[in-house]
C-alpha cells in the first residue's frame, strides 16, 4: 500500500491514502465474520517457512487477545490521515508512505506468532515513527526522536538475545529448532526460586525490559514525554494509541505465558512499579503547563493501570487490562487529536494562554469534556469499566497496592479536571482574546473525526460485553492455564 501511495501524484496523495486506509479498515472488519469467539485457539492462521535453517517461520494468526488490537490499529489510521489533513504540509507523500509502513509494522507485531518475525516488525515500527517525529516534529525533535529510538532499541536487543536463547532451548527440549511462540510455550525453562541468576529469570528480565520501555513503565518512561510533545499530532496519536500497546501486548503474549514462574515470583516488583507509575504519572501531570505534556504523563499513569491489571493474575485484572488498552487507545488518541486541532489554530499549547475557551468554542469544549470523562473513568464511559475491573483485580492481588492505585484515580480526576477548568472556563486568556474573531470551533472535517470516538466511548462504556465477548474465551484460557499455557492452531 505504501508503494501505491508513493506513486500517486502529489495532490492525490491524501484522498488516495484516506481511501486505502478506509478500505483497509473495512477489510479488517471482515474479521468479525470469520473470527469465532467461542474458542481460545489461534484463528485465520497463515503459516509458511521463511528461514528453516534457524526454525524461523512466517507465521501470523489472531486470537481473542490480539483481535481488538488489530481492529484498533486499522481503525485509527484513517483518522490520523484526516487529522493531519491541514497540519502536515511538508513532504506529504513521504509522510503517508511512512504512515502505511507504520501500520504494516503495527499489524505485523500484533499478528506475528513467530518470535523473530515479531522482533522484525517490532523493530521495523521504529523507523517510520523515527522519521515521523524527526521530520515533522517540533523544536526539539532531533533530541526526542533519537532518544526514542535508542531507548527502544536498547531494550529490544536484549530481548533478541533472550529469543536466541529460547530458540536453542527448543532444540534441546523439543528436538527441532523453532522460533514459534507456540513452541516457546511448551518449554520448561529452568527456574530457581529466590535466585536472581537462573535462565528463566534472566530471560524474563530481558523480555520485560524491552516491553517495559515500550509501555512505558516507571522508571524507563522518560522517552515518552519528549517523544509525545515533539511528535506531530498523527505521530502522537499512533504512538499513544497503538505503539504503547505493543509493550503491554508483549507482556501478555510473551512474558507471562513463557516465564510463568518468574513472572509470579517477581509480580510484586511489577505491581509496585505499576502503582508508582500511576501515582508518579498523575503527580507530574498535575504540574505541567503544556497540555500535550500533561496528556503524555497521563499516559504513563494510565499504562500503569494496564500493568497493574496484567500482573494481578486474575480474570478481572487481565480483562480490565485488555479493556483499558483499548480505552486508552481511544481516549488518549482522541485527546491528542483535540490538542492538535486547537494547536493548529493558535499555535500554543500553554495552559495559561487559554481560559474561557468554552464561550468561543462550545462544540470543541463538549467533545473535550466527553473525552476527559472517559479518561478519568466517569461511569457510563469506557474508562470506568476498565479501571473498575483493574482495581477489582488489583485488590485481590494485593490489598495495599490496590488501595494506593485507587488514590491514582482521584489524582487523575484532579489533574484532568483542573486542566479543563483552566483551559475552558474562567477568565479569558491571552490566546483566546487574540483569536476570538477567527473560527475556533470545530469544522465539519473535525466533527467527522470526533464523532466515532465519542460514539465508541459511550458504546464501550454502556455495553462492554459487545466487545469483551470476543476476547472472553481467550482471556479465560489465559488466566486459568497461566502456569502451563498452550495455544493450538484452530481451523
Amino acid at each position: 500500500m505504501a508503494v501505491v501511495v508513493g506513486s500517486v501524484p502529489k495532490s492525490w496523495v491524501r484522498p488516495t491514502a484516506l481511501g486505502l486506509s478506509i478500505l483497509h479498515f473495512a477489510y479488517s472488519l471482515l474479521l468479525f465474520r470469520h473470527f469465532d469467539p467461542a474458542t481460545a485457539n489461534l484463528q485465520l492462521v497463515e503459516q509458511s517457512s521463511w528461514i528453516p535453517t534457524l526454525g524461523i517461520q512466517y507465521f501470523l494468526g489472531v486470537d481473542g487477545i490480539s483481535f481488538w488490537l488489530v481492529i484498533l490499529s486499522t481503525f485509527l489510521i484513517p483518522f490520523t490521515i484526516l487529522a493531519s489533513w491541514k497540519s502536515i504540509e511538508d513532504r506529504v507523500r513521504f509522510f503517508h508512505v511512512n504512515l502505511f509502513l507504520l501500520s504494516t509494522a503495527m499489524l505485523g507485531t500484533f499478528l506475528a506468532l513467530d518470535a523473530i518475525l515479531f522482533y522484525v516488525f517490532f523493530e521495523a515500527s521504529l523507523i517510520p515513527m523515527y522519521f515521523m517525529i524527526g521530520v515533522w516534529g517540533g523544536k526539539r525533535k532531533l533530541y526526542a526522536t533519537m532518544k526514542f529510538f535508542i531507548y527502544t532499541m536498547a531494550g529490544s536487543l536484549l530481548m533478541l538475545l533472550a529469543i536466541i536463547g529460547l530458540i536453542f532451548l527448543t532444540q534441546e527440549q523439543l528436538g527441532t529448532l523453532s522460533a514459534s511462540i507456540l513452541d516457546f510455550y511448551k518449554l520448561s525453562i529452568p527456574f530457581v526460586g529466590g535466585q536472581l541468576i537462573s535462565t528463566q529469570t534472566l530471560m524474563f528480565f530481558a523480555f520485560s525490559l524491552a516491553f517495559a520501555i515500550k509501555v512505558p513503565m516507571f522508571p524507563v518512561h522518560t522517552w515518552l514525554p519528549d517523544a509525545h510533545v515533539e511528535a506531530p499530532t498523527p505521530g502522537s496519536v499512533i504512538l499513544a494509541a497503538v505503539m504503547l500497546k505493543m509493550g503491554t501486548y508483549g507482556f501478555m503474549r510473551f512474558v507471562l505465558p513463557i516465564f510463568p514462574e518468574a513472572a509470579q515470583y517477581f509480580s510484586w516488583l511489577f505491581l509496585l512499579l505499576a502503582v508508582v507509575g500511576i501515582i508518579y504519572g498523575a503527580l507530574v501531570a498535575m504540574v505541567q503547563t503544556d497540555i500535550k505534556k500533561l496528556v503524555a504523563y497521563s499516559s504513563v499513569s494510565h499504562m500503569g493501570y494496564v500493568m497493574l491489571g496484567l500482573f494481578a493474575f486474575n480474570i478481572y485484572g487481565t480483562t480490565g487490562g485488555l479493556y483499558q488498552m483499548l480505552n486508552h487507545g481511544i481516549s488518549t488518541g482522541a485527546l491528542f487529536i483535540l490538542v492538535g486541532m486547537i494547536y493548529e489554530r493558535t499555535h500554543s499549547r500553554e495552559i495559561k494562554d487559554y481560559g474561557g475557551l468554552a464561550k468561543v468554542a462550545p462544540w470543541f469544549t463538549i467533545a473535550f469534556m466527553i473525552v476527559t470523562f472517559s479518561s478519568i473513568a466517569v461511569p457510563l464511559t469506557n474508562g470506568f469499566i476498565g479501571e473498575f475491573l483493574i482495581l477489582l483485580g488489583g485488590f485481590q492481588a494485593h490489598r495495599v497496592l490496590g488501595g494506593v492505585a485507587v488514590l491514582g484515580v482521584v489524582l487523575g480526576a484532579a489533574y484532568m479536571l483542573w486542566m479543563v477548568k483552566r483551559v475552558f472556563f474562567g477568565e479569558e486568556g491571552r490566546i483566546v482574546t487574540k483569536y476570538k474573531d477567527m473560527k475556533l470551533d470545530l469544522n465539519l472535517r473535525e466533527v467527522v473525526i470526533l464523532v466515532p470516538f465519542v460514539v465508541l466511548i459511550f458504546w464501550m462504556g454502556l455495553f462492554p460485553n459487545h466487545f469483551l465477548s470476543y476476547s472472553k474465551t481467550s482471556l479465560d484460557h489465559f488466566v486459568n492455564n497461566m502456569s502451563n499455557y498452550e495455544l493450538q492452531v484452530g481451523q
Binding site: S49, W50, I51, P52, T53, L54, I116, Y119, V120, E123, A124, L126, I127, Y130, F131, G134, V135, K141, L142, T145, M146, F149, I150, M153, A154, L157, L158, L160, L161, I164, G165, I167, F168
Partner: protein, 493 residues
C-alpha cells in the same frame, strides 16, 4: 616439496590468471602507445572483462574441491564464496575508481594494474593452505595497496596514510613471518592440514608453537584491525582515495577473515594451554567493539566514522570466529562469520560509494554538515544511504540484522553469553552515530545552495544496487544461510 605443474593447478588458479591479464593488457597498451594514457574506458573495460571472466571461472569450478601446487592452494566451496566476494569488491572498486576525479586521470592504467594484482593477492591469501603461500598472498596484496593509497591528489593526507600503512603493515608482516618460522620450528611443517593433525597436542606441549601461533595471529588481527592493532585504520581509511578505501575495507577484510576462519577450523585452540589465548581473544573482541563504536561517536568526517564503524564490525566478526574456533557447536559460528562478511561487504561498499559520489562534487572531505538536506537534493542517494546505514546498525529486515543475529546466536550457542551481551551494548551505541547522517539528510535544512550535479551513473547504480541487495538478501537470507552452511559442512567437518 616437489614442484610440478599440471592442468589441475592451472584450473585452480585460472581466475587469478584472468585477473592478471585484465590488469596487464591496459598497462601494455599504455606502454606501446608511447606512454600516453588511453581513454579511461579502455583500461576499465578490459579490467571488467577480466574480472567477469574470473567470476565465470570461479562459478565453473564451484562445487568441486581441488588442491593445487602440492596442496599449497585449496579451492573448495569456502574459497569459492570468498572469491566471489573479492571479485564483486573488485568490480565495485574499479567502477568507483573510474569515476573518481583523483584517480581517473594520469595513471589510470597503472591503478587498474595494481588493483587487479591486489585482488590476486587477496585470492591467494584466501585460498592458501600453506603458511608460506599465505605470506606471499598477504605481501602481494599489501604492496599493491601501499602504492594505491599514495595515489590520491590530496597529497599530504594520502602520503601520510600510505607511509603509516607501509611502516605498520611491514612490521605486522614481519611479526607474522616470524610467527610462521616459530610454527615451523614447533611443528616441522607449514602446511595447514599437517598442522591440524599435530596442532592439538603441540599447543599444550610445545611452547615454541604457541608463541608462533600468537605472533601469527597478531599479524592477522592487524590486517582486519582488531584492538590493539587497530590504530592505523582511521588514518589510513581517511587518507586514501575513497574508492581505494572501499576496496580495502571490504576486500582485505574478507580475505583475512576467511583465512582466519580456515585457521580456526583447525580445531587447535581447544588444548588446555590455548584457553588463556581464547580468553584474550574474547577480551579483544569486546574492546574492539567498544573502541570502534565509541570512537565513531565523535567523528565529524564520515570517512573516519565509517572507519571506526568498520573496527566495530571487525569485533563482531571476531566473536563469530571465536565461536567457530571453540570445539563442539562451531558450525553456527562459521556460518555466522561467512554471512556477516557477506553482509558487511555490501553495506560497506555501498556506503563508501555514497561518499565517493558526494566527494566528486565537493572540494573538501565529506563531513556530517554536507549531508544536511540531501533528501531533497538527491533523493535516490539519500534513501540508499539510509538503507545502508540502517543495515550497518543492524535493523531488521536487512542483511546487517541477520549477520548480527547469526553471530550473536553462535556466541550464545557456545555459552559465551557475556560476549553476546557486549555485542548488544556496542550495537546500541552504534545506533546513535548511524542515525546521525539520516537525521542530517532528512530532518535538517540544507546549508548549501542548490546544486545542479547529478551523481555519476555507475556509482549511483552501484550504490542503489547495494541498497536493494541489503534489503532483498535480508528477506531471502534463508537461501544464503543454507548455502553457506552447506559449504561449511563440506569443508570443515
Amino acid at each position: 616439496m616437489q614442484i610440478s605443474l599440471d592442468l589441475v593447478d592451472l584450473l585452480v588458479v585460472s581466475p587469478a590468471i584472468a585477473l592478471f591479464l585484465g590488469g596487464l593488457f591496459p598497462i601494455m597498451i599504455k606502454a606501446f602507445s608511447r606512454n600516453k594514457e588511453p581513454n579511461s574506458f579502455v583500461p576499465y573495460g578490459i579490467a571488467v572483462v577480466g574480472t567477469l571472466a574470473a567470476l565465470a571461472l570461479v562459478a565453473g569450478n564451484w562445487g568441486i574441491q581441488r588442491e593445487a601446487f602440492s596442496g599449497a592452494l585449496v579451492f573448495d566451496s569456502i574459497s569459492a564464496i570468498v572469491s566471489i566476494l573479492i571479485l564483486i569488491v573488485t568490480l565495485a572498486g574499479l567502477s568507483y575508481l573510474k569515476e573518481s576525479p583523483s584517480t581517473q586521470r594520469l595513471q589510470f592504467s597503472e591503478i587498474v594494474f595494481l588493483t587487479m594484482n591486489a585482488s590476486i593477492g587477496m585470492l591467494i591469501f584466501a585460498w592458501s593452505n600453506d603458511l608460506i603461500v599465505t605470506f606471499i598472498g598477504i605481501e602481494l596484496m599489501s604492496l599493491c595497496l601501499y602504492v594505491l593509497i599514495a595515489l590520491s591528489e590530496e597529497e599530504k593526507l594520502s602520503k601520510e596514510a600510505a607511509f603509516k600503512y607501509f611502516i605498520l603493515g611491514s612490521f605486522a608482516s614481519a611479526v607474522l613471518l616470524y610467527g610462521i618460522s616459530f610454527i615451523y620450528g614447533g611443528a616441522g611443517t607449514t602446511s595447514l592440514p599437517e598442522i591440524k593433525e599435530l596442532g592439538v597436542n603441540l599447543i599444550t606441549t610445545n611452547r615454541m608453537f604457541l608463541i608462533g601461533v600468537i605472533m601469527f595471529f597478531s599479524g592477522l588481527l592487524f590486517k582486519f584491525s582488531i584492538f590493539p592493532f587497530h590504530s592505523w585504520t582511521p588514518d589510513v581509511y581517511q587518507g586514501s582515495p575513497t574508492p581505494i578505501t572501499s576496496y580495502m575495507a571490504t576486500g582485505v577484510k574478507a580475505a583475512t577473515v576467511f583465512f582466519t576462519l580456515r585457521w580456526m577450523s583447525l580445531d587447535i585452540l581447544t588444548g588446555e594451554r590455548a584457553f588463556p589465548f581464547v580468553d584474550v581473544l574474547q577480551w579483544l573482541a569486546v574492546l574492539t567493539i567498544l573502541i570502534g563504536n565509541v570512537g565513531a561517536l565523535r567523528q565529524k568526517s564520515l570517512k573516519r566514522m565509517l572507519a571506526y564503524s568498520g573496527i566495530g564490525h571487525s569485533g563482531y566478526v571476531l566473536i563469530g570466529l571465536i565461536a567457530a574456533g571453540i570445539g563442539g557447536q562451531n558450525l553456527v559460528g562459521a556460518t555466522g562469520v561467512v554471512y556477516y562478511l557477506f553482509a558487511y561487504t555490501f553495506m560497506t561498499l555501498g556506503s563508501f560509494g555514497v561518499l565517493a559520489a558526494l566527494e566528486r562534487h565537493s572540494d573538501h572531505e565529506i563531513v556530517l554538515d554536507d549531508l544536511k538536506g540531501l533528501a531533497k537534493r538527491k533523493p535516490v542517494l539519500a534513501i540508499s544511504f539510509s538503507v545502508l546505514l540502517l543495515s550497518l546498525a543492524g535493523i531488521p529486515p536487512t542483511v546487517g540484522f541477520f549477520g548480527k543475529f547469526l553471530v550473536l546466536a553462535a556466541a550464545i550457542k557456545q555459552d559465551l553469553n557475556w560476549l553476546a551481551l557486549w555485542g548488544v551494548i556496542g550495537s546500541v551505541i552504534s545506533v546513535y552515530y548511524y542515525l546521525r547522517p539520516i537525521v542530517a539528510m532528512y530532518m535538517e535544512e540544507s546549508i548549501l545552495k542548490e546544486e545542479s550535479w547529478i551523481p555519476r551513473p555507475m556509482t549511483q547504480f552501484a550504490v542503489s544496487l547495494m541498497a536493494l541487495m541489503v534489503i532483498g538478501f535480508g528477506i531471502t537470507s534463508e537461501s544464503f544461510f543454507a548455502q553457506f552452511f552447506q559449504s561449511i559442512l563440506e569443508v570443515f567437518s
